[in-house]
């Protein structure tokens, strides 16, 4: 059979495509839920209308986005059974439990309270309505935790034993699966990265309006909130990334050696800035390196020994029998760099932005020339940035929206492909995980169907987002400012139109 179209290859492509696509929506959902809830809290506490307008604006974009996150998530749950049935048989005893927990505890929460939030504006007193949004936010975070615990078990299996008789792995300590350091650091890293996406999203869209001098009060608040989120999340991502890196150096040395294209073990080991190598011969032909830095990243010590790809491959061959235990090294190497590069660029832009938009400097009243005219972004107290530079800032801010998404996607590609040829590291190989009974035609069909469907939906989704972004925050009505005081809504006028209807 043609290897390029072997069911295993197709199933892997399908998993990669559907997962990366699903994960374009997930981080934005997680962070926008919390940020929207935060803005709504600000409204409930201060009754300042700009917060309510901001809540409605970002809430709407959140809803357009979460719809896609939810529906593409359904595929993820069933894909294990469809394309990876031998995986499911082998690890279901362990992997299934956090998945079931996710559904029982997180999905029900999210989906039920989101219905209450969307339709509840005129049915719930404002504090209860606000609590619903926080419930949605908690639901999204819990969901991330359970799925990351499951994924971490694949990266670093703990709390299990192999049952030879049944030919499968069995759970012995669920608490360990939920609380192992891989799961906790991955959760920390993924959460902060998610807020990087939400922060950049807010910054970009606020910049879009501010550059056009529209909706200034709402967008100014949103811009600052976005910038602060971007910076806190950026720092958090860097710290958690460092922690996660150290964990991986211990647990998956091959993945980190591949991420650095470190072919042979060294002490001290250098950090690679750029490398071009020959995978077949197992060495780099061009390499620019910073001495000792990799040793430090791995072990907090500039001189320690870090094993290389060739050493680990040899050790694994001795342990698991003949074979090639190296992942796709160019993908791991460049994926790692794209992830860090785009993530750190987002952080840098956030810091620059926050500095440029300091309270007394940005849109300073002294620079107003007329009632309607809004001044440019200013650098020093009475000196505006040249219009050209000012424009560039807004353009960069807009492009920043894409950066954390690229970083996130490469982060996952690196994490998942860096573990190959294992699906469960050191326990189960990917080629032994596919469904033996599923034909090439079936996998090909589903891959074509999902890819086409996802492409069409992406176009629709982006167009809708653009439409609602351009529309800006809505004007408030009497009803918006006077939420009901009773659960189920007021009974004043039985024929009053619903605040929200499909």
């Amino acid at each position: 059979m043609d290897l390029a179209l072997a069911p295993e290859t197709l199933a892997r492509w399908q998993f990669g495509i559907t997962t990366v696509y699903h994960f374009l929506f997930v981080p934005l959902t997680i962070s926008l839920a919390a940020l929207t809830a935060g803005l709504q809290t600000a409204w409930v506490r201060t009754e300042n209308e700009k917060y309510l307008r901001a809540t409605k604006f970002w809430g709407k974009l959140f809803l357009i986005n979460i719809a896609m996150g939810v529906v593409t998530g359904i595929v993820q749950e069933f894909q294990f059974g469809m394309n990876w049935s031998d995986y499911s048989r082998f690890v279901g005893d362990i992997f299934g439990a956090p998945l079931a927990f996710e559904a029982l505890i997180a999905f029900f929460f999210e989906s039920t309270f989101i219905g209450l939030w969307i339709f509840g504006w005129d049915k719930l007193p404002k504090r209860i309505h606000l609590a619903c949004m926080w419930m949605v936010s908690i639901g999204t975070i819990l969901s991330a935790y359970f799925i990351l615990a499951a994924n971490s078990w694949m990266q670093h299996p703990v709390g299990y034993r192999i049952n030879e008789e049944r030919g499968r792995a069995e759970l012995t300590d669920f608490w360990q699966v939920l609380t192992q350091n891989t799961a906790l650091t991955q959760f920390f890293h993924t959460m902060t990265a998610a807020f990087l996406v939400g922060g950049a999203f807010m910054v970009g869209i606020s910049a879009f309006h501010l550059a056009r001098k529209k909706h200034i009060p709402v967008m100014r608040t949103s811009l600052r909130l976005g910038l602060i989120t971007l910076i806190i999340a950026g720092l958090g991502t860097a710290i958690s990334g460092d922690l996660l890196g150290k964990v991986m150096f211990k647990q998956q040395p091959m993945k980190m050696a591949a991420a650095e294209a470190l072919w042979d073990g060294e002490a001290p080991a250098p950090f690679s800035v750029f490398a071009y190598g020959d995978v077949d011969k197992g060495h780099n032909s061009v390499a620019i390196e910073i001495p000792g830095l990799l040793s430090f990243l791995a072990n907090d010590d500039f001189t320690s020994y870090v094993p290389g790809i060739n050493d680990i491959n040899k050790a694994e061959q001795e342990k698991f029998g003949p074979g090639d235990y190296r992942p796709n090294i160019p993908v791991a190497y460049w994926g790692f760099r794209w992830m860090i590069g785009f993530g750190m660029a987002s952080l840098g832009i956030g810091m620059l932005g926050l500095w440029l938009t300091r309270k007394k400097f940005m849109l300073a009243p002294g620079l107003r020339t007329g009632e309607d005219e809004v001044p440019n972004l200013v650098l020093f107290k009475r000196k505006a940035l040249s219009p050209r530079l000012g424009r560039w800032y807004w353009i960069i801010a807009l492009w920043t929206m894409a950066f954390p998404l690229i970083a996130n996607s490469w982060g996952w590609i690196f994490t998942e492909m860096g573990r190959q040829p294992w699906v469960v590291y050191g326990v189960l190989r990917t080629r032994d995980a596919v469904s033996p009974g599923v034909s090439q035609g079936e996998v090909l069909t589903s891959m074509i169907v999902f890819t086409t469907l996802y492409a069409v939906l992406a176009v629709i989704e982006v167009k809708l987002l653009v439409k609602y972004v351009k529309a800006g925050p809505p004007e408030l009505t009497e009803d918006d400012l006077n939420p009901p005081t009773k659960i189920g809504g007021d009974s004043r006028d039985p024929d009053r139109p619903m605040a929200f209807s499909y």
Partner: protein, 333 residues
């Protein structure tokens, strides 16, 4: 009763919850084409399930997740074996979820009509296919000694399973019509009642055929009892809608679904997926289940989470308890 038996019951409960809840929202989706006159009425129908359909769908995700965790072999055989039908169901659920959320996001009539058509088809097809799938599970399919499904897609389209598909389709549509009559006011409510009555009679004939066939094929005295309950409840639901007791009718159509699903699971037990090639190769609650430790943890989780879920989901229905009609739709869109 051992833990794997408990989980067999719990998975049955999750499917009952799913078919009870998503049953009426599938039904509403089908009725947008059959019952509604004009687009405002379509919108009224869609809004009756607006706040709840998403929560209803999670019952499926939970049933799937629970099967993965409690009966990994069942999960693996079922979803790799029923590959293409499941693919169709997944596509429908994706399009359906997006359709509900995106339909109102643009004012153009063309846009909204397309999404409305999508809601109709993506409600009808899964409502039918779930019946086909369960028909096949109960009847048994070609499973070999390695627990792999070795039949083809066409094997799944046998008369018994197709009849099962028609039963779920009509039963859910009936359930949806009763729900529509319970949740709406005005003209549409009266028509929903009249239609429910007709649908109920068609459902009764098909369901009786299917349930008796199941009973003769693989039933025991317990499944017989469930069958009697299902049939009596269905007759009661039809009678109640005839005399205008919508709440009772809805409760009874719900009981019909619950009892019918219970009957299928009772007919199945102790198998979870019988093999039609060799009874020895059947998947059972013992050879398909997880380890006792995993089942114990899952039992704790279910014991704590399930009552909470029922509590806050019921609260949602309470918050949105008011009937709606065309006068409640905002001017825009």
């Amino acid at each position: 009763m051992e833990l794997h038996d408990v989980w067999f019951v719990l998975i049955a409960v999750l499917w009952i919850g799913y078919f009870f809840l998503e049953g009426f929202d599938f039904g509403i989706g089908v009725l947008t084409k059959v019952l509604a006159r004009g687009r405002p009425e379509k919108r009224v129908l869609i809004n009756t399930i607006g706040p709840v359909w998403d929560g209803n769908e999670v019952w499926l995700l939970t049933a799937g997740g629970a099967t993965f965790a409690a009966f990994p072999e069942w999960y693996a055989t079922l979803f790799s074996g029923f590959y293409l039908p499941l693919l169709i169901i997944l596509v429908c659920l994706i399009v359906r979820g997006v359709a509900f959320e995106y339909r109102v996001k643009r004012p153009e009539e063309n846009w909204q009509r397309n999404w409305e058509a999508a809601i109709f088809w993506t409600s009808l097809i899964p409502a039918f296919l779930w019946g086909v799938a369960f028909g096949n599970i109960v009847r048994g399919v070609k499973i070999d000694g390695n627990m792999e499904y070795v039949g083809t897609f066409w094997d799944l389209l046998n008369p018994y399973a197709l009849l099962g598909g028609l039963v779920t389709l009509t039963l859910f549509t009936f359930h949806g019509a009763v729900f529509a009559s319970l949740k709406t006011v005005g003209d549409i409510r009266a028509r929903a009642r009249a239609l429910a009555l007709k649908l109920g009679l068609v459902t009764a004939v098909l369901a009786l055929l299917f349930l008796v066939w199941t009973q003769l094929d693989s039933g025991d005295s317990w499944s017989f009892m469930a069958m009697v309950i299902a049939v009596v409840a269905l007759v009661g639901a039809i009678g109640a809608i005839r005399v205008g007791r919508e709440g009772w009718s809805f409760a009874l159509s719900g009981i019909t679904i619950a009892a019918a699903v219970a009957m299928l699971f009772l007919a199945l037990f102790p198998n979870v997926m019988p093999s039609s090639l060799n009874a020895e190769w059947s998947l059972t609650v013992t050879n398909a289940s997880s380890s006792p430790y995993t089942l114990k943890i899952m039992t704790w989780c279910a014991a704590i989470a399930t009552p909470l879920v029922l509590l806050y989901q019921s609260w949602t229905y309470w918050v949105f308890r008011k009937r709606i009609g065309t006068q409640h739709l905002a001017e825009t869109h």
